[in-house]
């Protein structure tokens, strides 16, 4: 298929924005990052489009931008009520009245905000992008062992490991 930057952006921008939101957990930051990345991609579009997989190339740019983002990061990370995506979701009536799993998802989403950027990126790449350790290591710029370490620590921080183990333990007892 033959595409220009404009065609690429129109087709892939929604997906890139969703990816950035999941990666950052912050709608404004996601927008800033995607804007910055796509602007650079447009300027060097011949180079980007010359890659084997232009979309993967751009997604990688998004990841790199997130991992190296300095500007306003600290400020953005100090959320107040109404700024978090989950609060916005609440405001739109997207949360609790229903299933417990939705509440759990929001709770987990909030806890994800406490992770370091690399830890969060590893989880996103593994469970959202469904990549294996080797691919994640290549993207993040570390060894597969370090990826596993980030993953393990992230789960521990999120208290998912212990919950998971407790649940198995309880099921075994019952």
């Amino acid at each position: 298929m033959i595409v220009t930057f404009e065609q690429f952006a129109v087709a892939r921008l929604p997906s890139l924005l969703r990816y950035a939101v999941v990666l950052t957990g912050d709608r404004d930051l996601a927008q800033d990052i995607v804007q910055e990345v796509l602007a650079r991609a447009q300027v060097k579009w011949r180079q980007v489009s010359g890659a084997d997989a232009p979309e993967a190339y751009v997604r990688r740019m998004v990841l790199n931008e997130y991992l190296s983002w300095r500007r306003t990061w600290a400020v953005r990370n100090v959320h107040t009520v109404g700024e978090r995506l989950v609060d916005l979701d609440d405001a739109h009536g997207g949360v609790p009245d229903h299933a417990q799993d939705v509440v759990d998802a929001d709770d987990l989403w909030n806890r994800l905000a406490t992770l370091g950027r690399k830890q969060r990126a590893v989880l996103v790449l593994r469970y959202y992008e469904q990549l294996d350790d080797d691919a994640i290591a290549d993207l993040v710029g570390c060894s597969p062992a370090t990826v596993r370490s980030h993953h393990s620590r992230a789960l521990k921080t999120l208290r998912l490991t212990s919950e998971h183990q407790h649940r198995i333990h309880a099921e075994e007892k019952s």
Binding site: A9, V22, A39, Q42, D52, E55
Partner: protein, 212 residues
């Protein structure tokens, strides 16, 4: 998928659609791209100077993004999930020289760059017309015509030689304030002549008595 894997995936997928409006983001991307392009030009100017302001070899061709430009070239795209080669934003400084050569060879000069900057709504920072000349040169290399004809020499305009020297001065990172300093140091008639003198020295591979 593990239990925690399912829960994480659900957490991600239930929040991904809170992404911003793509149309608004795209509009902003277009604005930013123009800024990036100008920045890149400036970087190329500096890079060209670092290489001696006169070295040349092939280079990449950038898509034209300015008003009135044709859309960028079409390319083949495949979108597998695997990661591509590491992105790099290193510009090609050699391209700048080729663009300038094309610009000057066509008979255009400093005054023309000022006119083109107005037509294309490009800012001229610190009197540096290098990015405008580069853009014009790129268009000429692409076989396009510029919206104005070259100003004939001898009508009070700057000669191509002087223009090249002034461009080399700015390309090395110097600005008007530096030209004022150099004018005092060299006792030239005005800062403009200091730029010419400075550019001449830089093109000859010499260094100037002050840093940019």
């Amino acid at each position: 998928m593990t239990d925690h894997g399912d829960r994480l995936r659900e957490a991600f997928e239930t929040h991904e659609n809170l992404a911003p409006d793509p149309a608004a983001v795209y509009a902003r991307v277009r604005e930013l791209a123009r800024t990036h392009r100008l920045r890149r030009r400036t970087a190329q100017v500096a890079g060209g100077a670092a290489l001696g302001a006169g070295l040349i070899a092939g280079g990449i061709t950038l898509p034209t993004l300015l008003p009135g430009a044709t859309p960028p070239a079409t390319v083949a795209v495949a979108v597998p999930p695997a990661a591509a080669a590491a992105p790099s934003s290193t510009p090609s400084p050699d391209q700048l020289k080729r663009e300038w050569d094309a610009y000057f060879a066509a008979g255009y000069g400093y005054d023309d760059a000022l006119t083109l900057a107005k037509i294309w709504h490009l800012p001229i920072k610190n009197g540096d017309t290098g990015p405008v000349k580069a853009e014009a040169g790129q268009r000429l290399l692409d076989g396009k015509k510029l919206p104005i004809k070259p100003t004939p020499p001898g009508n009070g305009g700057v000669t191509p030689k002087e223009d090249r020297e002034v461009s080399a001065f700015f390309a090395a990172g110097y600005n008007y304030a530096d030209a004022v300093t150099l004018a005092k140091l060299w006792k030239t008639a005005d800062p403009y002549h200091a730029k010419i003198e400075g550019g001449k020295k830089l093109l000859a591979g010499e260094t100037l008595p002050i840093r940019p």
